[in-house]
Each structure stands twice: as structure tokens, then as C-alpha cells.
Subunit: 335 residues, 2 copies
């Protein structure tokens, strides 16, 4: 109802100028104690709150960070929590937008936020995104996290996905699995490729042959994983273990294995990725590569704020955090 009080109101009431009020409010240097007290008392009484819009307009910064994420699943929402934490601490507000894995949505979100609403961006790219011009156009500070934008010269925080793929595969090898397949993700995503590279490196280290048709690219979709696994299991030379680069894929794979009447971990071993809580709830529980999601978010926000305040060129900075394998029933042979 009653409009928020402004500096003008206070000035008028106290018969002083707005500039004095402004100074008094900010405890600035040159203000008499009396006026300061008077101003602060009245401002409190009127419940004065500075208008951020006006401030931002004047200072050309909004103290707001635009965060664009492809979804808000378990891992992502933890990362966002990490961003939130650091941003809040540093006096920044966070605007979270979901692209729903859609390139179009991502573009719209970015444009909107760019219209003077945010000081910069913290972004994880959608799985549909193959070109990055819409980000370049933003012409604003940005940090990528989790899913980086290959073509863009900007700092990033990510998991060591290669390592993740490696330890998962190595573990399966050590458990005695001979013919290990992989459900990789979309080919344009670097996380997908890195995990695949880790898989390949592990095979190589242990001198295993790479079977081309043991490598299946599929979207982050449980149903596709189900179908892909069905196909894998009906090959003549059936794999005896599967590494999936996400837990959702792992669930799909597991359902296919069950339907086929095969037992896990005996007939088929399985390792997923993300350490989603669901992995410990299904039977058998699923081994998974854990990533420090919260810390990745925190690191991204820190990097962003650092970039904003530092003048140095940070475009080459890439923070890489380590994954950890959580071994559960799905890949643990009694042997």
C-alpha cells in the first residue's frame, strides 16, 4: 500500500538535502553526528530500504549472477546450492534459470538475463547445445561449470571426468570382468567424451581390445539406456559389464539386465556415475562415481567473483576436482 520510503522523503522530513541523507546512511566521512543519528533514526522508523534498481542503474552493476543450468536433478541442484552459498556470502543474488536441455531455452534465458539484469553468468550448457555464439554475444563475464563450453575462452570448473571413467573401468577390470561396454552420453558433450576417454585408457592400460560396438552413445534418458542395453545383451559376444556415464542410464541398464533374467553382479557388472542417492536404494545397489557437486558449485562461484574483482586474465583457469568411486553390490564379485 504505502510506497516504500526514499531518500527524498527522509530529506524532506528532516529539511536537509538528499546528498546529506545519502552520506549519513552510508556512515560516510563528513557528516555531523547529530544529522547522522537523526537520519538513521528516521530511516529505521520509515523502514527505509535502498532501491537496488536505482543503485544498479547508477553503478552499472546489479550484484546479481545469472545461473543457467540444463536441469535441476540431484547433482545439479547440489551444485547450485554451492553457488548459492558462496554468492550469498559475497553479497550477490543468484538468478537460476533452467534450459531444460534445450538450446532455444538456453538462448532465451541468456538474452533475458543479459538485459542489464546480471553482472555475469555461471553456466552449465545444455546437452542440445553444439555452438556457443549465443554465449559469446553476451559479452559479459562468465564461468562455466560441470559441462564446459569447448569453443569459449572462459574459466571453468569441472570434474576430472577422464579420471572418473578410468577408475570405474579399472575397477570393473579388477573385479574380473572381461568384456566391458560403455553407455556414453551425447557426443557433443565434453563430459561424455572425457569419461569415454577414461574408459578407453583403462582398457588400454590393461591391454584389453576395444570393441567398437561396445561403445554406445545415448541421450541422458533412462529409456534409451534400457533399449541400448537390451541390444548389447543380445549380441553374440555379450558384454559382462557395463559402465554408464550417469546413474539414470545405469538404472535403465539395470532394468534391462533384470528383464533379460541375468544376475548382477555375477553375469553382468555395472557402474554408474553421479552417486545419486537412488544408487544405494535399488537392489542390488549400484556402484557409482561420486562427484563433489557442492564443491564444484562453490568453486564456480568463487571463480566468478574472483574474475569480477581481479583485473588479471583468468580465461585460462580451469579448476578440476577429483571423483571418487563408491563401490556397491552391482560390481562386487564375491570371487
Amino acid at each position: 500500500m504505502n510506497k516504500p520510503a526514499t531518500i527524498k522523503d527522509i530529506a524532506k522530513a528532516l529539511q536537509i538535502s538528499t546528498s546529506t541523507v545519502s552520506r549519513a546512511l552510508r556512515n560516510a566521512s563528513d557528516v555531523s553526528i547529530e544529522t547522522r543519528n537523526a537520519v538513521q533514526a528516521l530511516s529505521e522508523q520509515l523502514n527505509y530500504r535502498p532501491n537496488k534498481l536505482a543503485l544498479s542503474l547508477q553503478q552499472k552493476q546489479t550484484h546479481t549472477i545469472g545461473v543457467i543450468v540444463p536441469n535441476l536433478d540431484y547433482v545439479m541442484s547440489n551444485m547450485v546450492k554451492g553457488i548459492d552459498e558462496v554468492a550469498l556470502e559475497a553479497g550477490y543474488t543468484v538468478m537460476v534459470c533452467q534450459s531444460n536441455e534445450s538450446f532455444g531455452r538456453e538462448t532465451i534465458n541468456a538474452k533475458r538475463l543479459a538485459d542489464s539484469l546480471v553482472d555475469g553468468f555461471i553456466i552449465s550448457v545444455s546437452s542440445e547445445t553444439k555452438v556457443y555464439d549465443h554465449f559469446k554475444k553476451l559479452n559479459a563475464p562468465m564461468v562455466f561449470f560441470d559441462r564446459l563450453a569447448k569453443g569459449i575462452h572462459a574459466p571453468g570448473v569441472r570434474l576430472d571426468n577422464f579420471e572418473g571413467g578410468f577408475i570405474a573401468t579399472e575397477h570393473l577390470i579388477e573385479q574380473g570382468y572381461k568384456n566391458i561396454a560403455i553407455l556414453a552420453g551425447p557426443q557433443n558433450l565434453s563430459i561424455s567424451n572425457h569419461r569415454l576417454d577414461g574408459y578407453l585408457a583403462a582398457l588400454k592400460k590393461y591391454k584389453r581390445k576395444v570393441e567398437e560396438d561396445n561403445i554406445i552413445y545415448c541421450d541422458f534418458n533412462q529409456h534409451y539406456a534400457f533399449l541400448a542395453t537390451e541390444e548389447l545383451l543380445s549380441k553374440k559376444k555379450r558384454p559382462d559389464a557395463i559402465f554408464t556415464i550417469s546413474d539414470r542410464l545405469a538404472i535403465g541398464a539395470m532394468l534391462a539386465v533384470k528383464e533379460k533374467g541375468l544376475s548382477m553382479p555375477d553375469d553382468i557388472g555395472l557402474v554408474g556415475f553421479n552417486n545419486d542417492p537412488v544408487t544405494s536404494l535399488v537392489a542390488p545397489s549400484i556402484s557409482s562415481v561420486d562427484q563433489p557437486a557442492f564443491d564444484i558449485g562453490k568453486a564456480a562461484a568463487k571463480l566468478f567473483i574472483e574474475q569480477l574483482h581481479n583485473d588479471g586474465d583468468m580465461r585460462d583457469v580451469e579448476v578440476v576436482l577429483k571423483p571418487k568411486l563408491i563401490v556397491r553390490e552391482s560390481s562386487l564379485r564375491r570371487s
Copy 2:
């Protein structure tokens, strides 16, 4: 690098006044075709984008909605998606803040957003929140969803939680369970109480005695649910079915049942709430009350926008959507 173009730049370049540019840009009434074309051409060339800050300052509205949610779990993130959808359509941007179920965070978030950043709020209250003064102080349009604020006279969208509690309990009764316990949520949350009321009503309808110690209030926390269930199962008069008002609680309960060596659904029946995907993945799969999360979000956003544009008093509007019971193995007796 190069600062964004402003109306002034265009005006100067074209040797006309800013007001003319402003008009031309908006295809306003009185502008000669030539100038309009010239302006629009140049604005495109300069990649002109109106400064939303300036606009908001002037028009006293930001076209931004502040969304405050306790968390971003499966259900909530679907609700937010619904809000997003409608808001985007209507030309609004959404700022999502998580309170992490903390009263303090909720208050901070609300205050920050209120500082001229948003036109209003769409809120789901944290489980810690027992008083609502911090919302009243906002003095801005707001709509509550999912978890409503009892003390506040504002429109809301919610599930028919009573109905949800009722159908879950009735189903258990129909399956022949005799002694049905409930893991209710925090006592201050209306969703918790409504589901409990539905449970009580079902018992009453079928003339079952209500055992006071079959009613356990516990936080939305899997571990508490585990402990609570352990306690329930060690009573002399052990319950033979449990209705939990969230799936996370159901998981905790299930783990306790398994540890106790009891079988499900034979010894103990179980029904959860939310229809989280996890319920269909565990063994046995868990029956659960499904809520139309996406639609609830959409309805909330619609209500908000309506409220903003309508002058009518909508404070008494309460949209209530219906739940649906999804029956799975955990409560289906072969009998």
C-alpha cells in the same frame, strides 16, 4: 568491451531526439515511416537492447517473480518448471531461491528479492517456518504453493492433501491391513496435518480405532524415518502397515522393515507420497500418492499473474488439485 548502445546513441547518430527514438522503437503512433525505419535499422545494427533496469526504475515494475522454495527435490523442481513455463510465456523472468528449509535463509532471500528486484513472490514455505511476519512485511503480491502459509491472507495452490492421506489409507485398509501407522511430517506444516487428517478420516470411515502411538511426527529425513519405524516395529502391538507422507520417509521405513527381517507387502504394507521415481526402482517398488507437480507450479504462476493484472481481491482464492494413488508392490497383497 564496447558498452551497450542506448537510445541516446541512436538519437545522436540520427540527429533526432531521444523521445522520437523511443517512440520509433516501440512502433508508437506518431512517427514518420522514414524515421521509424532509420531508427529500427540503426538499432538493429547497433544491437540495441533496452535497459531493463532503467525501465523498471521508471515503471516501478521489474517483470520478475521471486520464487522461494525450501529445496529442489524431484517434486519441487517440477513445480518450479511449471512456474517457469507460465512465467516465461507471460514475459516474466523468474528468480529462484532455495531456503534450504531454513527460516533464516527464507527471511534473507525474501528481503533481498523485495528490494525492488521483483514484482512479487511465489512461495513454498520452509519446514522450519512457524511465523509469517517476514512475508507480511514484504508488502508485495504473493502466491503460495504446495506448502501454504496458514496465517497469511493470500491466494494459494496446493494439493488436496487430505484426499491424498485418505486414499492412501483407504487403500491399505482395503488390502486387509488392520493396524496402520503413519509417519507424519513436522507438526507446523499444513501439508503434514492435512495428510494426517485424511488418514484419520479413513480410519474413522472404516471404524478403525486410532492408536495414538501409531502416529509419529518426524522431519523429512530418511534417517529419522528409519529410527521411527524401528520403534514402531518393536511395539508389542506392531503395526502391519505404514503410510508415510513423503517418499523419502518411505525409503527410511522400508530399510527398517528390511533390517528387521520382515517381508513387504506381506508382513508390512507401505505407501509413500510424491511418486518420486525412486519408488518404482526399489524392490519391492513402493506405492505412492502422485501429485501433479508441474500443474501445481503452472497454476501458481497463473494465479500470480492474474492477481497482478486483476484488480479484484483474490486473497481468498485457493486452487486445490487432486492426487492420484499409484499402487505398486509394497502395498499389494496377493491375498
